[in-house]
């Protein structure tokens, strides 16, 4: 167990890729020996087992996590290219713990749900999915900025293929759009990373990509470099923050950089959509929390009103546009824009309640929107259409489906005693403490969410069964029920008893808030900028 625990994060990260490569290798070996390679069913089974095993390992991670300590836990450090300061440095804290758990939780569910959905090139599909899982977990636990960037970009490749090969009619357009959009932002972020690297070299004399110093070392890391507030324009906090923020804002997605999302979601296969909505969208907000805020605190605090405005715009705009969609999947995609607007609002409230709510809401959104995409996928599998007008009265032939759909809908609109409410309530309360006007506007999103979800639900589920094909719909089979029950359990659990999760998030979040504030004060004192902004905060 000791060995296990010591390298738990590495195992968690690389087990899926390892499995994929192992399967690939075995298949090649089998081919070389004259057999016909491994059957797709074997790939599927092994892939699912690997994802399931990964989930169990992450439960061990959850159990081993100490909720009373702030700072990184389960740290592993290995020199990779030490001459340039590129090291293999991983660790989790309260924020990334839940996101890793979400990733490993959703993966087996996704693989199980697409058991019959994907019928061609199954082996490639499983390969890409496992590869994607490695990329995602790697991004969440990376603490060396170079390593983070590598994993960040690595995630794009399997996602591009998944959308591009197994997607809908406009899949190439959607896949290319997704790839290029994200890459543009990332490239600017790379430039910013190099600038910080260069600044760190200037100030400490060593080349170091580590975000923070490892526990046993005194070597100053990137977080310790003082990034000037004034001076050469491309070295100031504002522009660097903007570069980072661009990359992350595209991923979130924030309005007006969100247009890749509806296309990507609509054209992706069901499993791809679930992973995209469930995990990939969290990368943006995670990036803000882990990198953008701690590295550039003065800029973050100064630019807060802009981000609040964009978040509230996202909430209201996303909800209004979702309301008039004709394609259910597109509607859910726009609802994601609205939900993540809430998360961004909570982050930029910069107090414990708001951020706590934001981190929890990340998990909540992953669960409820993931579940929504699964449900839409089940409908699509049966009728091969996603347009609302082709449905109506579906609750009659598919009552169990209607029940699950109802629960997930209610979770999405933030009904108390389900998970969505806890996150939204904390976010709105936290934001209200510092920016009551913005929070009041954002609360109207609660009404709009009910409007568009219930309207869609009514048109799809209720009413007479007008269209003949809808009468013959078959209700959920046991595999689908299993998948949905698996997702609904945490939805209800987090809603009724969120303590275990909040307890683990809180130390890291309060540390982050403390950190950002104090460092902003120090840096502002150095640069005499923004000090008055800081004084107003409660």
């Amino acid at each position: 167990m000791g060995f296990f625990d010591q390298y738990l994060l590495t195992i968690l990260t690389f087990l899926p890729l390892g499995t994929a490569l192992g399967l690939f290798g075995s298949g090649a070996l089998a081919l070389a020996m004259g057999r016909s390679g491994l059957p797709p069913a074997l790939w599927r089974a092994v892939g699912l087992s690997s994802a399931g095993l990964n989930f169990l390992l992450s439960l061990r991670l959850f159990a081993a996590f100490d909720p009373t300590v702030t700072g990184m836990q389960m740290v592993e450090y290995g020199a990779w290219i030490p001459e340039y300061g590129i090291n293999y440095y991983v660790g989790v804290d309260g924020i990334s713990l839940l996101l890793v758990l979400l990733t490993t939780f959703l993966m087996p569910i996704v693989l199980l749900s697409s058991w019959t959905d994907i019928s061609r090139s199954i082996k490639s599909y499983i390969f890409f999915m496992l590869f994607l899982e490695t990329g995602m977990i790697g991004t969440f636990v990376a603490l060396n900025v170079f390593q983070f960037y590598v994993f960040w970009e690595v995630m794009l490749i399997p996602m591009y293929f998944i959308i591009g090969i197994w997607g809908g009619p406009r899949r190439i357009y959607a896949a290319v759009k997704f790839f290029l959009f994200t890459m543009v932002g990332s490239l600017l972020m790379l430039v910013a990373i190099l600038v910080i690297y260069y600044l760190s070299l200037e100030q400490t004399g060593t080349l170091n990509f580590d975000l923070l110093a490892p526990p046993w070392s005194e070597v100053p890391a990137l977080l310790d470099t003082v990034i000037p507030v004034e001076g050469v324009w491309w070295q100031t906090q504002y522009w660097l923050f903007a570069a980072f923020a661009l990359a992350f804002a595209i991923k979130v997605p924030m309005v007006p950089l969100h247009t890749w999302l509806p296309d990507a979601h609509v054209e992706a296969p069901t499993a791809g959509s679930v992973v995209l909505a469930g995990v990939l969208l969290k990368m943006g907000t995670y990036g803000f929390l882990r990198f953008a805020l701690p590295l550039f605190p003065v800029a973050a605090i100064d630019l807060t009103p802009w981000f609040l405005g964009l978040s509230v715009t996202g909430i209201i705009y996303g909800s209004l546009v979702a309301m008039i969609q004709a394609d259910i999947k597109k509607l859910v995609a726009y609802s994601s824009v609205a939900h993540l607007g809430f998360v961004m609002l909570g982050i930029f409230a910069l107090n414990v309640q708001g951020m706590n709510g934001a981190v929890l809401q990340m998990v909540n959104h992953g669960l409820s929107t993931g579940a929504l995409f699964l449900l839409v996928g089940m409908l699509y599998e049966r009728r091969h259409t996603r347009l609302i007008e082709n449905f109506g009265g579906v609750a009659r032939p598919m009552p169990v489906f209607a029940c699950f759909f109802g629960i997930v809908t209610m979770s999405s609109i933030g009904l108390p005693m389900l998970n969505g409410f806890v996150g939204e309530f904390l976010i709105l309360l936290g934001t209200f403490l510092v920016y009551p006007g913005w929070a009041a506007l954002a609360t109207s999103g609660v009404v709009l969410a009910a409007a568009y979800m219930l309207w869609m639900f009514r048109r799809v589920m209720f009413g007479p069964v007008d269209i003949e094909e809808n009468r013959k719909l078959i209700d959920l089979n046991p595999r689908e029920r299993l998948v949905l029950v698996a997702i609904v359990i945490p939805i209800i659990w987090i809603g009724v008893y969120p303590e275990p999760f909040l307890r683990r998030i809180e130390p890291s979040v309060s540390q982050l808030v403390e950190d950002v504030r104090s460092r902003a004060e120090d840096q502002a004192a150095i640069a005499l900028v923004g000090a008055d902004v800081l004084e107003e905060r409660p």
């Binding site: 247009t259 209004l320 546009v321 414990v352 029940c403």
Partner: protein, 676 residues
């Protein structure tokens, strides 16, 4: 204060929840429907058990001395975030004090009766969307939510119940979902409710933030808010762009009242309640008469310490209540659907409750809440009985002469009508009287006008209720022959609970007889409900009334009731051809009332349609698909492609010589730069 911990309270809401969960699992797992007796036993059993526990808790409560009369049951910290003074800790904790004790008795008591009634009513096996078990599952879920609402120890938990009842209302109104209209009504209820919830949430946030600003430990728990209330009563708030400063307590009171308007169907958010009649009648009785809609009144009474201090908010509450009462009553006099009349009547009576609460008569509001629960549930269930007897006919124009045919229903219905009209010694008289006294003696600006409106509405109420009774039960039967001959009393499950409610409507007033009469009858503390509840509420600084004034007011109220009855008798029994002629000659006015002042259409045209069109045309097509996607994203792609297509590609001429030339030019340039 002595803190009374008990493990009893949690079971009161938990039992219906467990029943609902078991129902849900059974529906999900079982192939065929469960046997009826199992469903009945589980569902009615749990609610009856809850009622029994409520009685036990009530008894325990009364055993405590009046100053510290409360019981608390804390389970765990539900949402906790932050540290120190800004810490948010919303516990899952229940609190039983006289106010919530009254509520749980009403909810579980009347609820049990309605559960029993539903056994007989929900015979809908011929429908496509049948669901005997599903109905009881939702009813249990509703009971759980309502109990959470009233027993919750803090605002967050109250909000849980608040939204929960909204959800169950949605599920139950649209219960027969094969009909598109029912589903629409359910959605409408939920969304209008949500608008109210928006106000409620803002109220919670404002309150929390006020505590933080005032420097006291922030809290959402009712008892702690009350304790720390002094710290925030002087705070003011200024709207961002224009001038006057408002007292914080007024703004908070108004925000919470917006929530109450949504939940309790006051102007301008009442529009969902009449359409909610699309649901089965037991639903209308339970949710839209006795319990859910009274949540707003309960909330105002729960926060009475705040409203007593917030004069502006209280005035708004009182005036909104009064105007709603009058407005809804005016619509009720022309409606022809038996349930719609009762729906508007409910809106009107809720207005009375808010009138009392706004005037500081919190006990009066609660008293009317209790008596209204009795007689309105009775009226609705009676209407359901009539509907069943008439084979699902709801138009009173097609009824009449039922007194001979379904005597039991007729009798209990008459009891309800007399009670709501406010004739002593039925319960409605006493509660209405207390409301009118509160209005008469209040300090709200224009309180005499409020009294006048209350009095006038009493007359109108009496009028339309007797009109309903006369048209439904008396006169000639206007139903077609094949219906007329098959009219019969529905099953016992339907009729027997009605007797219980009728009894309560008759004697329920005994708990609140004003002390004046008690003195003359030599009964001590006859004003028992008031005595029970008043330690909770701020002492009213009301004008004092002399004995004779009180009696005069009572006589005025009875006079109004009699007036209404007289006009109804004249128009519908003595000269039945008159109403049609009046409707014809007052054409415009009649049509306006019949069409409910066209408010629904106005909302649709002013709010709903423009919003949808704006979202579709402006936001989606112009901004999203057009500007962002079209110009910025795809436009950039097209621009780069055009640049390559029309410019850059010509560099690739395929001629090696061209490339050589460029190389030479480049080399010369670099050398020139380096060697200058």
């Amino acid at each position: 204060m002595v803190n009374q911990q008990t493990e009893l309270l949690r079971w009161i809401p938990l039992l219906p929840l467990i029943a609902a969960a078991v129902h849900g699992v059974m529906i999900g797992l079982m192939r065929r429907s469960a046997p009826r007796w199992v469903v009945i036993a589980l569902s009615c059993g749990s609610v009856l058990l809850s009622f029994a526990l409520s009685c036990v808790a009530f008894v325990e409560l009364t055993a405590l001395p009046a100053e510290s009369r409360f019981l608390v049951d804390t389970l765990y910290t539900w949402i906790g975030a932050g540290i120190g003074e800004t810490r948010l800790a919303a516990d899952l904790a229940f609190r039983l004090d006289p106010l919530s004790a009254v509520m749980i008795l009403v909810v579980t008591g009347v609820g049990s009766l309605i559960h029993l009634y539903s056994i007989g009513y929900m015979d809908d096996d011929h429908r496509e969307d049948k669901g005997f078990q599903r109905f009881f599952c939702f009813l249990n879920l509703f009971t759980f939510s309502m109990l959470m609402l009233v027993l919750g120890d803090n605002l967050a938990l109250m909000f849980v119940g608040w939204e929960g009842v909204g959800l169950c209302s949605y599920l139950l109104i649209g219960f027969w979902y094969s009909d598109r209209f029912n589903a629409y009504c359910g959605s409408k209820a939920f969304i209008v409710n949500r608008i109210g919830d928006f106000g409620f949430l803002i109220g919670i946030f404002l309150l929390f933030r006020a505590f933080v600003e005032a420097g006291v430990p922030a809290t959402l728990s009712f008892s702690e808010i009350e304790r720390s209330f002094d710290a925030i009563r002087e705070l003011t708030l200024a709207a961002p762009f224009w001038g006057p400063e408002w007292r914080l307590v007024n703004v908070v009171g108004l925000c919470f009242f917006v929530g109450a308007c949504g939940k309790s169907a006051q102007i301008p958010l009442y529009v969902w309640l009449p359409d909610a009649m699309a649901g089965p009648t037991p639903v209308s009785a339970l949710i839209h008469a006795a319990t859910m809609v009274t949540a707003g009144v309960y909330m105002v009474c729960r926060l009475s310490f705040l409203y007593a201090d917030a004069e502006l908010a209280s005035a708004v509450v009182a005036w909104t209540g009064a105007l709603t009462a009058l407005f809804a009553a005016s619509i009720a006099i022309t409606q022809t659907d038996i349930k719609k009349v009762l729906a508007y009547s409910t809106v009107s009576q809720l207005g009375y409750m808010f009138l009392a609460a706004g005037c500081g008569g919190y006990t009066g509001a609660m008293f009317h809440l209790v008596t209204h629960a009795f007689f309105k549930a009775l009226l609705f269930l009676g209407a359901g009985s009539v509907i069943l007897a008439m084979h699902h006919e709801q138009d009173i124009e097609k009824m009449g002469g039922l007194w001979r045919r379904i005597r039991q229903t007729g009798v209990v219905f008459l009891v309800g009508v007399i009670a709501i009209a406010g004739v002593p010694p039925f319960s409605g008289f006493f509660s209405k009287d207390e409301i009118l006294v509160a209005a008469f003696t209040a300090h709200v600006p224009g309180h005499l006008w409020l009294y006048g409106i209350g009095l006038a509405t009493a007359a109108i109420t009496s009028f339309y209720m007797f009109r309903l009774f006369f048209k439904t039960f008396l006169g000639e039967c206007r139903a077609p022959a094949h219906v007329r001959d098959r009219v019969h009393e529905p099953s016992n499950w339907v009729v027997k609970p009605l007797w219980a409610l009728a009894l309560l409507s008759l004697i329920g007033g005994m708990i609140g007889i004003p002390q004046v009469y008690g003195d003359s009858l030599h009964v001590e503390s006859s004003h028992s409900l008031n005595n029970f509840l008043s330690p909770l509420f701020p002492a009213g600084a009301a004008h004092h009334l002399s004995h004779s004034t009180e009696v005069q007011m009572a006589l005025a109220a009875v006079g109004m009731a009699a007036l209404g009855w007289l006009v109804a008798w004249f128009l519908y029994l003595r000269r039945p051809e008159l109403p049609a002629r009046m409707a014809h000659s007052l054409g415009g006015l009649y049509r306006m009332l019949l069409n409910k002042y066209w408010i629904d259409e106005v909302y649709d045209a002013l709010i709903v349609r423009p919003l949808v069109r704006f979202s579709d045309v402006m936001l989606f097509r112009v901004v999203d698909a057009g500007a962002i996607d079209g110009i910025a994203v795809n436009g950039t792609a097209r621009g780069i492609r055009a640049l390559a297509d029309h410019g850059l590609k010509y560099l690739q001429s395929g001629l090696a010589q061209g490339y050589v030339f460029l190389m030479i030019v480049g080399t010369v340039a670099i050398l020139g730069y380096l060697l200058r």
